[in-house]
Structures are given as C-alpha cells and as structure tokens.
Amino acid sequence: MSIIELRGVTKTYNGTVHALRGVDLTVDSGELLAIIGPSGSGKSTMLQIIGTLDRPTSGSVRIAGHDVLGLSDRRLSALRARHLGFVFQQFHLSPGVSALDNVADGMLYTGTPLRVRRERAAAALDRVGLGHRLGHRPNQMSGGEQQRVAVARAVVGDPPLLLADEPTGNLDSAAGAEVLKIIKELSEAGTTIAIITHDSEIAEWCPRQVRVRDGLVLP
C-alpha cells in the first residue's frame, strides 16, 4: 500500500519560479528513502508538499490515503498531527523547556491528555537513548542529543510517515551516525521514512534514492 502518491505535481512561485515541473513519486509503506539533489533542485519544495505544509500548483497528492487537495486547512492540520512526523535541520526545540516536555509537545495537538503525553515522551526518549536526560533543557545538551530529542518528538505519536530535512546537516559525523542509527531502528520497526539531503553518502546508505534536479525526478 502506498503512503505517498504524487501525480504530475508542479509548484510555481509568483507565476515565474518553477520549483517543481511535474513530479511523479510513489512510496510504499515501510520504505526508507533519500530524496537527494543540489540546493535549488526543488527537494525542499517536495518535502513541504509531501508534508502538507504547502499545496501544489497542479497535480494530485495523496498522503496516507487522503487526497490533500480536497482537505481544508483544519483537516490538513489534523492529518499532520496524526500521520506525519518532522525532523528539521535546526532541531527547533523550545528553549527553557525540558526534553520531556519538548517531546510531549509532539502530541499536543492530538487530543491526548498531558499525563499520557508525558508517559509516551519518556518512552520515546528512552528509545533514542536519552532516557537519563528527561529533565535536561536543550542548552544543556549537545547538538547530537538535541537532534535525538527532535527525532523523539517526531515519533512520539507513532506516525506512519517521518520526514527528515537534512537531519545530520548541523552535526559532526559521530553525532550524525548516532542519529542515522536511530532512523534505521525506526525504519526496521515499520515507520516509512523520507530523508531530504544533498549528502550522497547518506543517500547511498538508504535502500532507495530519489534524485531531483531542476524540479524533476530523474529516472
């Protein structure tokens, strides 16, 4: 069963900049793939469209069986809350908030009570090897640890699809390897994962590569 289905997707900014020029992409449930391309290739736009943060200019997008174009902004938000997890290059953790509450906020918009959110957050932090740092704040942790907290936040609600935008871009190679190991474990547990990167080493590490150039997916 496919979890991502893009058909003839184009995205034009201001009527002149063609970021995507007709992309077809099908990703099956449980896949681990890399979307690779140089900067300006349109891979970030692809991530935004797959992540339902933006709508295509034309074409059809189905995520987890939902036709994105037919959904209101409210319903798209609900789709993101329950089916999607994001990991960003800059972590985007709330300063001054403990790792536990940062992760628990990953389920804030799912209607789960606070007590349950915290229990699940503790489990998710345990899963990324930070079970001993629940009360630490982001500024008390290394970059690698912060990104692991961000991964825990992305998966705390058990979303079927995880989107990672340059997850190791701000990390040294040891910390990057640590994060990739966790991503591998999540993939083995059944989560569909798409990593957006310009690093061919990481791309080779993934079982499937999708190469993007000038707004098109290369065959």
Partner: protein, 393 residues
C-alpha cells in the same frame, strides 16, 4: 479527519510557556496595565473609604434630630419663639426629647479687665436641662446643669469655647454679665450642633435674672422616632408658633453630613481619567509586546503548525498569552490599588473600603484589554504560512 480540541489546561500551558521564556519583557509590559488598574482602584477605594467614614459618623450621631430656630417676620425683623415652645414640641407624639437654647445679651471673659468687645466668638446661651440628652452629648469634665445649678451662677463651656478661653478644668471662674460665674463642666464636641461647641451655657432662670435674657428660646432641638421625622417636621412650625408658623425655620443638621458623604462618594473624575489613560497606554504596550513576540517566533509557529496545530489553535495560543499578560498586570494592579487604599485609609483613621464592583470592573477591563491587544497579533500569527515560518532562519 477532525483536529482535536486543546483542553483549557493545555491552552493556558501553551500561553504561559511563551511568557516564561521572556520574563523581563513580561514584567515591563504587565507593569503598564498594573499602574492603570492600581490608579483606578485606589481612586475608587479612597473615595469609598472617605464616604464610609462619614456614613459611620452619621450612623453614630443619628439622623433623627431636627432643630427649630426663629426666622424673620414678614417685615424682615428677627422673630421670636414663644416661651412655651419647648413644652409644645415635647407634646408631639413621636418626639421623645426636646430642649431649647436662648441667646443672652452678654459676653464671657476670663476677667473683667479684658475688653468687652473681645468675645472670642463665644456666645452666651441659656439652656434647658434636657439639652445634653437631646444632643446625645457628653461632658468631658465636671457635670451638666440640673434644676439647682440652673438657678446658680454656674456655667458649662462647649468644647471650642473652653479651648478659646484656655480653660481645661472646672472650678475656674469667668466674668459674665458683670459678675463671676463658676465653670462646673466642659462638653465634648457635638458634631450635629457646632454652635453649642462655641457657647457658654447657663440655666434659663439665672440667665433671666442676671444676664438680661428675655426668656424666649432661639433654637429648639428635638429628637423623634426615626420613621416619624418627616411627619414631625411638617407639624413643627405650627406647634412652635401657632400664630405665625412662617416665622419658624426647621432644619435637619444631619443633612449637611449626608451631603458631604454623597460628595465624597463621587470620585474625582480627573484622577479616574488619568487611570484610564494609563490603562490605555498599558494596553498599547501589551499589543506591542505581542506583535514583537509573533515576529520573533515565526519558527515556533511553523513548528507548531507542522506538529498539527490549526490556524485557530495558533490564534488561541497568542490570545491566551495576551490575556495572561494583561491579567497578570491586572492582578498586580488590583493588589497595589487595594494596598494604597488601605494605607491611605489607615493614615486618616478611616475604615478601608475597596468595593467588590471595582475589583470586578478591573478584572473585566483587563480581560477586554488583553483580548483587544492580542487580537491583531494573534491574527497575524495564524495567517503565517507554515512553510514561510520554517524557512526563516
């Protein structure tokens, strides 16, 4: 698929988390609201306390006393009350006590060597023995007149009169109408009859005998049952002077105090306006803080959108933040205003009163300000596209 609702607790948690991250800014912008609310509460509180003080005084003195004085004849000459007037007033049903004073054409001085023109504003009056009871006054020193001392050269001084003559004890003699009178009592202040405070009081018989008093009372004091005051007031002129009821003036001394209480309760609109301006400026400060907050937190907004927050939930987050901010200022201001009221009232020996409606009004005002100040920033935050927010570095 429908988005889940945030519980009230989560809304408050999220709103407070934005404030916790920037404590200094929160305190400064809440201060504006606090100053406005404190000013208004203090203005209302202090005027209410002053009013309460006057009302309590009024309660203690009673409002059931009427005074009757001789007015003018139709030809503009001073009229006289009949000698029998006090007895007539006593016979009115609801009246339980009546007394009279009459001006005697004499002066009171420490010795005969002092010039007769130097009276110190003290008048010499004949008083009936029932006067003290009717005024509900008390003696500070010595005794009040009785039937025996009313016939003797004995004098009672009002509080002010004693002060002006420099007399602090009884047994002293004063020079009145060409002979010595012995001071046998000094009165405490009588707020409902300030003219008595400035008088030297002697008995009717001795005044007629030695001080050239004609025996006609000039003022009659009476107390009646509270609910019958108006009825008594209506019949007094005819009772006192059946032949010329129009030559009689009736007044209610407590009316003056009641008017002062009403005036004190009407707070200074200028100060209140000043508080309103401070509040307005505080509201603008909160709006400013919120606009800056939205600009600075584009990434956080983008993150929350990616976590599944709807536009409405982002709007609610910033509105609740703005509400919490101004509520913080409101609570601090209400406490400050109440403390200022209590402090001022204590220093004046007034009962401190902060009316609950003022507190309620302050709460309502802060809620309105928080909503109005937060509305525009919240709309801006909700309108941010999730991708724009995420690509901002």
């Amino acid at each position: 698929m429908r988005p889940a609702r945030l519980s009230l607790r989560d809304v408050l948690r999220v709103g407070a988390s934005g404030l916790r991250a920037r404590p200094a800014r929160v305190i400064l912008s809440a201060l504006g609201i606090a100053i406005g609310i404190a000013t208004m509460i203090a203005v209302i509180g202090i005027s209410s306390s002053s009013r309460e003080q006057l009302l309590r005084q009024l309660d203690k003195l009673g409002t059931n006393m009427l005074t009757v004085s001789a007015g003018n004849t139709v030809f503009g000459e001073p009229a006289k009350l009949p000698r029998t007037a006090v007895d007539m007033v006593s016979r009115i049903g609801p009246v339980f006590s009546a007394a009279a004073t009459g001006s005697a054409p004499a002066t009171v001085r420490r010795t005969s060597h002092i010039d007769e023109a130097v009276t110190g504003g003290i008048s010499v009056q004949a008083a009936t023995t029932s006067l003290l009871e009717t005024l509900e006054g008390t003696v500070a020193k010595g005794t009040w007149l009785n039937d025996a001392t009313s016939r003797q050269p004995a004098v009672i001084l009002g509080a002010k009169a004693a002060e002006r003559l420099g007399i602090t004890r009884t047994g002293v003699r004063v020079w009145m109408g060409g002979r010595w009178f012995t001071v046998i009592g000094i009165l405490r202040p009588t707020p409902l009859a300030p003219e008595i405070e400035r008088s030297a009081l002697v008995g009717f018989p001795v005044a007629e005998e030695h001080l050239g008093f004609d025996g006609h009372p000039t003022t009659i004091y009476e107390r009646s049952a509270e609910e019958a005051v108006e009825a008594v007031r209506d019949v007094l002129p005819r009772t006192v002077n059946p032949e010329n009821p129009n030559e009689v003036d009736v007044s209610r001394p407590s009316d003056a105090l009641a008017a002062r209480a009403a005036a004190a309760g009407a707070f200074t609109s200028l100060l209140l306006g000043l508080g309103a301006v401070a509040l307005l400026v505080g509201g603008v400060g909160v709006a400013n803080t919120m606009v800056i907050s939205v600009l600075e937190r584009r990434r956080e907004i983008g993150l929350r959108r990616s976590l599944g927050a709807t536009r409405g939930q982002i709007r609610v987050q910033f509105l609740s933040e703005s509400l919490l901010l101004s509520a913080l200022g409101g609570v601090a201001g209400a406490v400050l205003g109440a403390l200022a009221t209590v402090g001022y009232a204590m220093s004046r020996d007034w009962p401190p009163v902060v009316p609950p409606w003022a507190i309620g009004g302050a709460v309502a005002a802060t809620l309105v300000i928080g909503t109005v100040a937060g509305l525009y920033p919240a709309m801006r935050a909700a309108r941010l596209s999730p991708t724009v927010a995420l690509t901002t570095t």
